[in-house]
Every structure is written in C-alpha cells, then in structure tokens.
C-alpha cells in the first residue's frame, strides 16, 4: 500500500477547489443558449409578458395560419387588408379601407393611405399585390396557400397607388374573408426564400429573438393606428400547462395561453370558446358502419350532456354540428342528438336482424394529448358504444399516426373506423368545414352523398343570407340523411390573465393574440 505524499494531497485539494470554483462560475453565468439577458427579468410596467405553449417555429408571415406562428405575428407584427371580427363574424377594414365585388370574378380594394412598413418602406397597392402574389402564386409553398387557396392562383394588380384588383379563376363570394389570412409584408421581403423575421405594418416590430429562450417585440412608433400601449412584448414558451399557470400566479407573466382547469390557474383563469368541435367520424363504407342505422345508433348512444358536465364543465357546449355558433352557416335549429340507449339498442337489433355484422370490431383511433382529458373521453365513448352492443377497440396514437387515419387516402385495411376528430374552423365560414368533412372526395370526408354534394356545391357560390341558409340546409341534410359524423361538443380553453392587465379573449385568441387589444388594468 502506498500512502499519498503531502504534495500530491495538496495538489489534489487544489484541484477539487478549482473544480468547485468552476461550478460556481458556471452556475453564476446564464445558460449557454440564452446569450445576453438584458434587464428584462421582472419587466417594467410597460412590458407585456406572454407565455405560449411552444416556441414559434418561424415568424414567416405566409405561414401565419399556423397557430404557433400566427399567435405572435397576425395583426401584431403584420396586418392583412381586412380583418375578421371573431365575435361578430364581420369583416372590418385594416390595410384596405373598403372593398367591393366589381365583376363575377373580380374584387376591388381601396388601399389605406399614409401607412409605412416598419423598415420605412411606404405601403401601397403595389406592396399589397406583392404580398398576395408571394403567398398565393409563388413557389415558396406557403402554408396559407394550401390552407385557403388550394391550387387556384389569383391575379392581383395594382391599378393605381391606392386601388387593388384581385381576379379569381372562379366566382368567389368570400374572397375578402380569404384575403384576411394574407399578412402584408414589406416589398423588400424575399419571394424565393422563407423569411423567419418578417417586416410588416403592425403595431409591434420584431426586436430580438433569442432562439430557445425568448422573443421580444418593440413598439412601432410610426404605427398608423392608435398608439400601442406597451413599449415591448416579451414572449416565452413552456410546454407544461402547470408551469404556464404557475408563471401567472407567481407574477412572472401577464398572459398564459392554452390552459385547462387542472393546471391550477384558479381565479386568474378565463375560459373562452376556441371554435374547435370534437366528433366521431365514421368510415361509412365498411360494415357495420356502412349501415346508417348503426351510425344513428352511435349518435343516440353518446351521453353528450354527461360527457360535458363530467369531463369539460368549464364552458364546453354539447354539439349538434361540426361548427359552433358565430361561424357563417351555423344551423341554430339543429338539436343535439338525444341520449337514448333503448333507441340505439333497437336500431342495432334491427340492423342485426337484417344481417348487418354488428359484432365486427370497430377501431376508434384517438390522438394522445390532443386536448385535455382526451384519453378519458375515449374510454367513455368506448364504454357507451359497448353498452349498445358494439365492439369497439380504443387505439391511442400519436399525431402522425392520427393523420394517417384523418386524411385521404384513408386507412382501408383495418376494418370499420370511428375516429375521434377535433375540427377547428378558424376561417369563420362553413365552406372550410363542409368541403373537408362532408363533400364526396373531401380530404377529410370518408364518404359522401350525391344530394349533399349538390347542396354544398351550390352553397359555395352564394353570398349573404342565401349562403347562410344554404349551409344550414347542408348541415340539416347531413344530420337527417347521411350521418357521417357524431358531433360531441364545442370546446373551450382557458387563458391565464394577471391582475395588472385587461384582455377579453375571443374565439381566435389562440390563433392571433392581438396585442393591441390588451391594456393595463386600472
């Protein structure tokens, strides 16, 4: 055995000391990834601190229909020509002051004067045309192009500095609504590459984006509208709801998005509808779901009142159709399916007597963590369908797998499928719902009906009252004759709001949090 010499001991002791010192040093500086921190912690009275559910992947304005991007960008950094009022559904002027249909396929917009972009470039009809062209007609592959316009290209022309005409390939009565999704960016913006930090006309300009940590917007002092109240806006993101809620209750943030009642937000939580509806969607060409009696029976078997009152007591509403009130085309006369187990059972018996294989296992794909208590909901649904004699297998899947079931081409080799879908109509018009879920060949419609197709194809071309009535009829027809869906509930989410700020959330808060609508309390 060899004992250590005193010198070695001393050098080891100093090595340990150095080690501890270096830890202390490491711990005292900030996290490697966060770079300079400035004096932002705690914030001044004029900094609004928002905590999101995730970091925006990009702030590219032509991807702003993506929730995680749009919540920061839309109507805050950049603005569209017209803006939809989420409460009334009306279109309101923003960068365009008025608009009218000037031909079957042509719309004309009067462009607001005296507006400049955050980089000093003046805004005019040319600039508006550039942005629309970039988002809709370019090769960028903008998300908004797929979301709103499909393969259709628009012809945009600035006839003079304040007049813009837009020509569509087919008559389009809701073109202004569609254009409310196009955020106008500076003509200096590249149209061959995505731009992560856009320059717009909005009340706040992008300041510093510390990737992974924090995003700061600064007040645009040259904003054309009412002067913004906060000198800056600081966005952070936390994936855990409990942590977002804790940031509000501990005073670290002013607004927290995407909370649910379990997150411990207490009195600081404000519940609001988010235009999302949950439903079961049937693969109506596979036995036994190809028999309308089975689809009706499932609708009778679901205890919607019970589900809402036990799982979602904070404002969710029992649903009779796939869109909530406030969307053009909502049919207020439709009553939710009544909960009637006996009727459901007799429908199943009747079908069975006619030789329908009612024992066939029905797959119910449910997406993990899609919304609060989704797995509990799946269990409840399975139980309720089992109660009327159907054989349902609950299948919990992740997002990508869920999309395989959700989108055309559909899964056809797993037998009958009744999948739990969550549909959000953020555009405000039933067209974005029925052409997806009810029209034969729709990307999310597993089957259709010629009569329904006709109604839908006519509704598309109508405006005003006629349009409203036509979509109402389509929903009623689907309910009566097709039953492709079992609507369950219109959802609500919760927002955490610190005492020092005032804000009235609305159905589009999660998609575009308009900072100009937030103010200091008192």
């Amino acid at each position: 055995m060899k004992l250590s010499s005193p010198r070695r001991t001393a050098s080891r002791a100093s090595a340990v000391a150095a080690g501890i010192a270096s830890i202390a040093l490491l711990a005292s500086c900030s996290v490697a990834n966060s770079e300079s921190q400035g004096g932002g912690e705690g914030g001044t009275d004029e900094t609004l601190r928002v905590v999101l559910t995730q970091e925006p992947p990009t702030l590219e304005a032509c991807d702003a229909n993506l929730t995680s991007t749009g919540v920061v960008v839309r109507s805050t950094v950049t603005e569209p020509l017209v803006e939809r009022n989420p409460s009334t559904g009306d279109l309101e002027p923003l960068l365009a002051t008025e608009w009218e249909q000037t031909g079957d396929n042509e719309w004309t917009f009067a462009i607001r004067e005296g507006v400049t972009f955050q980089d000093g470039t003046p805004f005019d009809a040319e600039a508006a045309a550039y942005s629309i062209d970039r988002a809709v007609n370019g090769d960028l592959g903008c998300n908004v192009e797929g979301y709103i316009f499909g393969d259709d290209d628009l012809e945009v022309e600035a006839t003079d500095a304040t007049t813009l005409t837009v020509t569509t390939p087919n008559p389009d009565p809701i073109l202004p609504l569609k254009l409310s999704f196009i955020e106008i960016v500076s003509p200096e913006t590249s149209n061959t590459e995505f731009v992560r930090e856009p320059v717009g006309t909005g009340p706040y300009a992008i300041g510093e984006w510390q990737a992974g940590t924090k995003l700061t917007l600064d007040r645009n002092d040259d904003y054309w509208g009412d002067a913004p109240e906060f000198s800056s806006v600081e966005y952070q993101w936390r994936s855990e709801g409990t942590v977002r809620a804790a940031m509000i209750t501990s005073g670290e943030a002013d607004i927290a998005l995407g909370l649910s009642a379990e997150d411990g937000i207490g009195d600081l939580g404000v519940s609001y509808p988010n235009n999302e509806t949950i439903a079961l969607r049937f693969s109506g060409q596979t036995a036994p779901l190809d028999d309308i009696r089975i689809r009706q029976a499932i609708n009778y078997a679901i205890d919607r009142e019970g589900i809402v009152s036990s799982l979602y007591p904070d404002g969710d509403k029992v649903a009779a159709q796939l869109i909530p009130e406030g969307i053009v085309g909502f049919n207020a006369d439709l009553e939710p399916w009544p909960f009637d187990v006996e009727k459901a059972k007799s429908l199943v018996e009747e079908a069975k007597a006619d030789g329908v294989p009612v024992d066939t296992q029905i797959i119910m794909p449910v997406r993990t963590a899609q919304f609060p208590k989704v797995s509990e909901l799946g269990e409840v649904l399975r139980e309720q369908l089992a109660a009327i004699g159907l054989n349902v297998e609950l299948r919990m899947v992740d997002t990508t797998q869920h999309l395989q079931y959700q989108l055309s081409p559909f899964v056809t080799n797993e037998g009958p499928i009744a999948m739990l879908v969550q549909h959000g109509n953020q555009a405000g018009d039933a067209q974005f719902t029925v052409e997806q879920y009810m029209l034969t060949g729709g990307a999310q419609a597993e089957f259709g009906d010629p009569g329904l197709d006709e109604l839908i194809n006519t509704a598309r071309t109508l405006t005003g009252e006629e349009r409203q009535a036509a979509y109402e009829e389509a929903f009623a027809f689907e309910r009566e004759n097709v039953v492709a869906l079992a609507p369950i509930a219109h959802q609500t989410v919760m927002l955490g709001l610190a005492d020092r700020v005032t804000y009235e959330p609305n159905s589009s808060t999660g998609d575009e949090l308009r900072i100009k609508e937030v103010s200091l309390a008192g």
Binding site: M1, L3, S4, G19, I20, I23, L26, A27, S28, S30, V31, A32, N33, S34, Q37, G40, E41, P57, T58, E60, N65, D139, G141, N143, E145, G146, Y147, G150, D151, F194, R196, A211, G212, T213, Q236, W237, R238, S239, E240, T242, V243, A246, M247, T249, S250, E252, G264, D398, T399, T400, Q401, L403, Q404, Q406, L407, F432, E435, Q436, A443, Q444
Partner: protein, 329 residues
Amino acid sequence: MWTYLRRRILQSALPLIAVVLGVFVLARLTGDPSKLYLPLNATDQMREDFAARNGFDKPIWEQMGDYFLGVLRLDFGESLRTGEPAAEMALRAFPATLQLAAVTMVLAIIVAVVLGSWASLKPNGIADRIVSFFSMTAASVPDFWIAILGIWIFAITLGWLPTSGTSGPLVWILPIATLMLRPVGVLAQVVRGSMVTVLGQPYIKVARSRGAGEMHIVTKHALRNAAAPALTVAGDLAVGLVNGAVVVESIFGWPGIGKLMIDSILQRDFAVLQAAVLITALAIFALNIIIDLGYALLDPRVRPTAGTRARRRGPGAISDTKAEALTNV
C-alpha cells in the same frame, strides 16, 4: 496512450455511422411529414411539391447517399420546421444541456460521496438507515412530480425562486435539484457499498491498529480504493444526462438538446433529429474515453487498452485485471 486514443476513435466511427443510419431509416418509417407540415386540406399537388422540395420523393437509399455526402461537407441539412440549418440548432442547444449535466454530476458526486461514506461507517446504524431511506426515495420518485412539486413550493408558495426560464443564477436551482436526486440516490448506495467492502479490508485494520483517526482512514485510505465502482456508475449516469434531460428541460423551459430531440421526433424534423443524435453520440463517445482515462488515473494498475473495459468491473475484480493490465503496460 496515443495508440489507445487512436484506436478508440477508429472503433467509435463505426457505431457512430450505424447510429445515424439507424435514426435516418427509423425516423422515415414513422410517417410522412407532409401530412404534418401541410394544412389538412392541402391538395395532392401541394403534397407532391413538398416532397420534391425536401427530397422525400427519392428512394430512401438515394436520400441517404445525399445526406452522407452533405455530412462530409459539414452540411447537415435544414430543419423542416424552422428552415434553419440543422447543425446550428443542435449546436445551439447542446451547451445548455452540457452545462446542466456537468453541474448536476459534480454536485451529485460530492453529495453522494459524503452521504455514502457517512452511511458506511456503521453499517445498519442510524446514519446508514437514514441515507438508505433517502437514496431509495430519491432514486424512485419521478422527475416530473418532483419538478412540479418544487415549482409549487419554492416558486408559488414561498416565492423564493423563479418557476422556470434561463435568466439569472436562481433559475439553476430547481432544475439541478430535480436532476441531482436520482444520481445522488444511486451513487450514495454505490459509494456506501464499496466503502463497506474496503473498510473491512486488512489494510484498514492495520491503519486503525496504528492509531490513525477515522477521518484520516476514510478520506486517505478507503475512499480512493472505493472510488472505482462509483466512477463507473457515475459515468453511466452522466451519459444519461448528456442525452438530454427531456422532462426537466421541458418543464423548466431549458433550451437543451433533449427537448430539441423530442420536438424533432414529434415533428418528424429528420435533419434536426439526425444532427442532434450525431452530436450527442459524439459527446457520449468522448465521455466514455474520459471515464476510461479517469479510471486509469484512480488506479495506476489499470492502463487503458482498447478492448479492455476495465472500468466496468467492481473493486473485487481489480486484482483479476492486474495481470492483464501489467502485460499491456
């Protein structure tokens, strides 16, 4: 020494390529990213354009060839999600994880050595029972629960610490305390176990009979010989931390590699996933080499030789490696 290093690096290259290949293929088996990245109502034409723009329309072996050619030019591709270079994203996130792992491990080792030594002085004594109870609890409570409990107690109820985030020195406390628990629990038991063995050895009795103080015996004679198995276990725990502490990073908003990896898996962001796996694998290989070298430093009888995983053995095994080690000197 240099021969050893060279050999280890060459040996590491093959598994490294295998890891990246595996991730490349497996990630692509899990689903079509166009469904995630395009709106639900995108047309077929748009899906085709998307695939063509990102090279997903080519056969997988061709995609793989392109990827490895790119890697040779240090081009790791671009993120589907953000459009940023994948390597940049991985390199930005990795230091945050490394800092967290390093501070956690050093503190965990210090605490575990103190606790383990204390417990070993009197096996089954009161100190031993307390330490055992603590380490069992620490090693078995879920991170998630402890993290949320910590936030609730220290940030909400007491208001002493920030809930999460990255600014200021205080934000380090909760994540590190959460992360430390398991390593401290496991290591304290390992240190205790090997200390009990070592303290029963004849040479300790000799030292005691010569009148050496207990403190002197523990720190000067026993700990050094008991350190080897602890280092082995600490190495494995450190590898786990470098891999990214996903739960802790997610909860505390720590911009590390674990969170980045999970996000890129969920988002089918292949290039970023590959870059993150590659950088983590590199770090783990480096860490393993460092641990082997550290083992040799602790026990001069062991000289690192490629192929000998001496550090994997417990204290009783040292004598077995002696002959082998001597022949390799």
